[in-house]
Symmetry: C2
Subunit: 258 residues, 2 copies
């Protein structure tokens, strides 16, 4: 697992590259970004950016090169199946300037599973850039792979999530970010903004956010979130925020989970 | 509304820029990208890229400038509330090199609504880059705005969707993309890949995609989607695809909606 707490100052970053026309056309609601965000956060890695690109080679290569040079890790999702529109392996190899080869372990798995030589479509799924290592797939289908700081994962959420179980041990994270949330009811953000800003400006090392809600059973108000790498400090600043809100006449305050 | 059909060759593009730590931390599952994807598609505009960036001014400005120079339209979501972490208006103004001013119409709406001079937090929400026009907000809170080819919308999904109702008339779209979906059951993508590729290669002007499913009530198989701007052609190529799949011995084929 990640080396949590070893170095609270070190910020380790990741980006997600979602590959697929189906997300941009609106046909599919992406959920992989959210799953990866939670996964890397638990390993002390900050998700710093995400991009969604179509099934177009030049776009995938350009985005991957921009992200892999800038962040510690990149997770791609989608485009690793056997059909003509599955071009992720080709694009990752092109981005790294590496040839693709049929990985002997995937070929062996396929032969064992189907008892016959894989057809052309299946062999597409055995292609990995030279030097790439496999990412186990505990669900259906062939594995993903890692090359350099890039993890190439499936697009189907259940399969993508299965692959994450073989990624945690590869991440060298920093201190895990912890958060505390305070639910403020019956006061809009315009009232909350003053005390919230004062506390945020006094603690620039923490992130303070406000996420309003309207209507529904909860009435209206906002969830105020404090995030940081030192749990005791987050706790202390939460008390300070509660005090500042009370001093401004805002009374319906409830600490909540998540 | 959009000038559908006027020019079937013209491709009009858009990008989405999701602004918000809460998406990257995993706290919130974004749904705005999907809603905007469907919305622009219905207006003959192709969503060509999306990015998610944190509440960091330099990141927002850089992403916005990259996207607005490359695509016909850009939609931003999030960061237009009254709190210190709402910096979208500042960043959009910086990207365009324009000053912000308190828009008189928003100030008048606020005075009318609350019967008093808006406080500092509310006045933050009245700030629009000079020359920007307002995007009506039929829900709670102040309007969004348009400056150049950029639409600046709320992050709360219900409010964002309300604002879209004041955007359609501003879009000059091309021909609307239509799609047909064929559900293939009991055959994996490895079997489908050959005939699918043959049909895709014979019709490079169309987009053919394969979206596999596994388990559940439907067993396994794949949804094959043909997308294009000429409904008659999409229909014709779907017949061709069905024929090609049948010739390969794949029989459980059902045209489906969406």
């Amino acid at each position: 697992m990640s080396a949590s707490g070893e170095n609270a100052e070190k910020r380790v970053t990741a980006a997600v590259l979602v590959i697929g026309d189906e997300i941009l056309s609106g046909r599919t609601q992406d959920t992989n970004l959210n799953a990866i965000a939670k996964f890397v956060a638990a390993h002390g890695v900050d998700l710093a950016e995400a991009r969604v690109v179509p099934d177009v080679a030049a776009e995938i290569v350009a985005a991957l090169n921009a992200l892999r040079s800038r962040y510690d890790y990149v997770f791609t999702t989608g485009g690793i199946g056997p059909t003509h529109d599955d071009i992720t392996a080709d694009c990752v190899a092109a981005a790294f300037g590496l040839p693709l080869h049929e990985h002997p372990e995937i070929m062996a798995q396929m032969r064992a599973r189907w008892g016959e030589e894989p057809n052309a479509a299946r062999r597409r799924m055995a292609r990995v850039p030279e030097g790439g290592t496999l990412v186990k797939n505990p669900e259906t289908g062939p594995p993903g792979f890692q090359i350099g700081n890039v993890f190439v994962l499936a697009g189907v959420p259940r399969i993508m999530q299965g692959m994450l179980t073989d990624i945690g041990w590869r991440l060298q994270g920093g201190a895990v970010v912890v958060s505390k949330t305070l639910k403020v009811e019956g006061a809009g953000e315009s009232l909350i903004a003053g005390p919230l800003r004062a506390v945020a400006e006094a603690h620039p090392e923490l992130t303070l956010g406000s996420y309003p809600f309207f209507g529904g059973a909860d009435g209206y108000g906002s969830n105020l979130v404090i995030r940081g790498r030192d749990p005791a400090e987050v706790e202390r600043v939460m008390s300070e925020l509660i005090e500042a809100l009370r001093a401004a006449g805002i009374e319906r305050l409830t600490p909540v989970e998540a």
